[in-house]
Amino acid sequence: MTGDTLPPPVRRIATDREPTVVEGSRNGGADGPGAGLGGRAAVTRREPATVVRERMRAESLWLAYGENWVVRDVTLPVRQGEVLALIGASGSGKTTLLRSLNRLTEVTEGAARSGRITLDDQEIYELDVNDLRRRVSMVFQQPNPFPMTIFDNVAYALSEQRPPRGRRRRRTDEIERAVTDALKRAGLYDEVAGDLDRPALKLSGGQQQRLCIARALAANPEVLLLDEPCSALDPISTATIEDLIVSLRESVAIVIVTHNLQQAFRVADHVAFMHLGDLVEYGPREQVFGRPTHGRTRDYISGAFG
């Protein structure tokens, strides 16, 4: 088939709007920093969040698996009101860094840490690990809903309002409201509202991932960690989730690990570039993508390696 029999490339699917067409000549770079990256950026460009507040901080953080130091001397703030993107090649330690923020690295044997990680100025080792993980929730690369109904998936995550002794968790109004609210925040409610008792595994990949985000949001976390949340998804689901991420940053501090530079540019306010465990560059996305100060950053962003 020839190109003209196909519909033109579509930036995002919005049923209530005319499809917007990407012009072929937009790669000129005249649009300011990062213009070559991601045509959607111009669409989702948004006002900065009203309040930006530091919630977490890694200070001189070193992380190891066994003898192997995979993160070296990283100092990084995580702020509510903005999205922090961790970029870098495979093996650069960005996922390890992310997982250390809610102590999920400890699941792996031989994990070690030096330096400080604080949540609201409190060392996270001083917190109960389950409390910490409720406050600092995480969404993974592969959508991983539990083999339960949609409702139960979200209800399970609700912070322990223990059911009365001897009674099973019932669908109280309170739980029902919390589940609905979480599904709405994750932008999934309208699609599944009719039947919350459907098995979660029957949902599409994109819906499953948004269910996982809903699940992570259900406990009202203060920080949301996203580990390549879109890498297993198609572009349309990706677009939905990216918009969701941007809209969530007002209420939750968000850290996202991504291999997709366009995505980092589209969603992030600050970008941290890591290479072989070192934090090479950290700054506002316009600076990291537009005027990187390090050669390595420039090489990575322009695709010289990674």
Partner: protein, 338 residues
């Protein structure tokens, strides 16, 4: 690339090309021999299975009467006065319930600990090989072991005391407890296998929500492997129902279920009795009953129960079941059928 105008024309594919077939006759002699051996053994096994079912069907149905299910067995040399197998049928039901009631929760707990905790590693290895040992012990040896343990005087409340004070160690409770050991390895194996098949990201997902490991196990992992546990339980029930040695030694294999003491229910459980297997044994030419017709009929019923359980396992582990557990079923089959 087809253009739009061509796409309008009806498409006809070129003629189908057959993949060349490999002829067995071209194989080396050894390979051919082995190939035919595989065929013969497979078909031979099928024939044996069919023969068992058919023979029991023919023999069993011929002697099967509804009255057999509702009459108590009676000691008589005349076949028409020897009654039915109501007591053995109830006996089978009771020991199976007791044994699986012990084995299922215990087995799931052991498997969960082994798979999800398993620390210290030395202890885990010890538990693992203990389970394997129990799986390998012949049931008659287990029966003798039970006899030794439960004839201890302080365990007399489980069975009955003879007039001279010795404990008989023969009762439904005792037999059920030892029969549980038969089913235990199957439940442990099925549960462990099912847990191992669960993706690690399911555990991580739960941990990342601030749930403890035990909550994860209870609320996510165990519900997810319910079909796997169920198939282990059903396989275990098959083993329990089919066992004879333990019944003869520890249940007394009395013709009727003989209650002990006066407490309802408990008096039956403390009493002796028989099951279908011991009934078949007793009535077969090998036993003292010498009523082969009754033995055939009871054997047929026994076979039907076991086949029904097998069908249940197949159903529980059929591809229609979602989740990674389904693959387990076929391995469990291989384990049991050898």
């Amino acid at each position: 690339m087809a253009t739009a105008s061509v796409a309008d024309a009806p498409m006809t594919p070129p003629p189908v090309v057959e993949a060349p077939r490999e002829g067995v006759s071209t194989w080396p002699m050894v390979d051919r021999l082995f190939y035919w051996l595989c065929w013969v053994t497979g078909i031979g096994l099928c024939l044996i299975a069919v023969a068992i079912v058919l023979l029991m069907l023919v023999k069993g149905i011929a002697y099967l009467k509804p009255s057999l299910f509702i009459e108590h067995p009676a000691p008589s040399l005349r076949q028409d006065q020897a009654g039915g197998f109501l007591d053995p049928l109830i006996g089978t039901l009771i020991v199976t319930t007791i044994a699986i009631g012990i084995a299922a929760p215990l087995g799931v707990a052991i498997a969960a600990w082994l798979s999800e905790y398993g620390r210290p590693a030395g202890l885990a290895r010890a538990v693992e090989s203990s389970v394997e040992t129990i799986a390998g012990v012949p049931s008659i040896v287990l029966a003798i072991f039970g006899l030794i343990v439960f004839s201890q005087s302080f365990l007399g409340f489980l069975s009955q005391r003879a007039s001279n004070g010795t404990v008989t160690a023969q009762s439904f409770l005792v037999a059920g407890a030892i029969l549980a050991l038969l089913a235990l390895p199957l439940v442990v194996g099925a549960t462990r296998e099912a847990l191992a098949q669960l993706p690690g990201r399911m555990r991580e997902a739960s941990l990342a929500l601030g749930k403890s490991r035990i909550t994860t196990l209870r609320c996510v992992l165990l519900p997810a492997i319910r079909p796997g546990i169920a198939s282990g339980v059903v396989l275990g029930m098959g083993r329990i129902i089919g066992d004879t040695a333990i019944i003869v030694v520890l249940l007394g294999s009395t013709l009727r279920n003989e209650p002990v003491g006066g407490v309802p229910l408990l008096k039956t459980l403390r009493g002796t009795g028989s099951t279908l297997t011991s009934y078949v044994y007793g009535d077969s030419p090998a036993g003292e009953g010498n009523a082969p017709q009754k033995a055939y009929a009871a054997a047929f019923v026994l076979l039907m129960i076991v086949l029904l359980l097998n069908a249940l396992v197949t159903r529980l582990t059929s591809p229609a079941q979602i989740g990674p557990v389904r693959r387990f079923g076929h391995r469990a089959w291989a384990m049991v059928r050898g």
